[in-house]
Amino acid sequence: MPIDAERLREEIRKVYTDVAHDPKRGYHFHTGPEYAAELLGYPREELALLPDSVTAGFAGVGNPLAMGRPRPGEAVLDVGAGTGMDTFLAARYVGPAGRVIAVDMTPAMLERGAESVALTGMRQVEYRPGLAEALPAEDASVDLVISNGVINLSPDKDAVFREAYRVLRPEGRLQIADIVVHKDIPPAGREDIAIWTA
């Protein structure tokens, strides 16, 4: 039986609500700027410019911006932005003339994101509620779509990629970091929400 998408999303929201409220508690995955710098190659000096509310809850699995930085004035969309470490790094690169749409489906992350926008004064960042499978952005409206450790959590990955394609302008870039498995997960495992979320 295929996984119940809404039940999966609720379980994911629970985990990431905890991450938003208590990022240093300790999870099955690494969080925070030290992990980002040590294991994923994020530049420490740039992370140090961002507030703890943005960096402490980082839960990515790679480094999308290492593949190319957005240019000043460009529009970026971050799928599953979380506390926004990639979002706010992108915002520094695009500057006040650019914009970064931070999409997330977890209310606690949207609240934390709005607080961080106010704290940093980076008005080019806008948090929008939405799903990776139904992005809250117009067709051909962004130059760069990024995502970090999010698409693996979607039960409809084709929809996520169709949406990324839809919102990108011609010549736009998709830069994602995610996890892949090299050993097949048996059907019982695919139906087990715990396998998805932890």
Binding site: H28, P170, E171, K183
Partner: protein
């Protein structure tokens, strides 16, 4: 694919990640 690595190394979920041979990757593409 631009990078590959082990993002769960040292995390509590490493054992499960190793069981399924989980790997982190960075991937980029361009819309025509």
């Amino acid at each position: 694919m631009v990078w590959r690595g082990k993002p769960f190394a040292g995390a509590a979920g490493q054992r499960k990640a190793d069981k399924f041979e989980v790997e982190g990757i960075n991937v980029r593409a361009r819309k025509p």
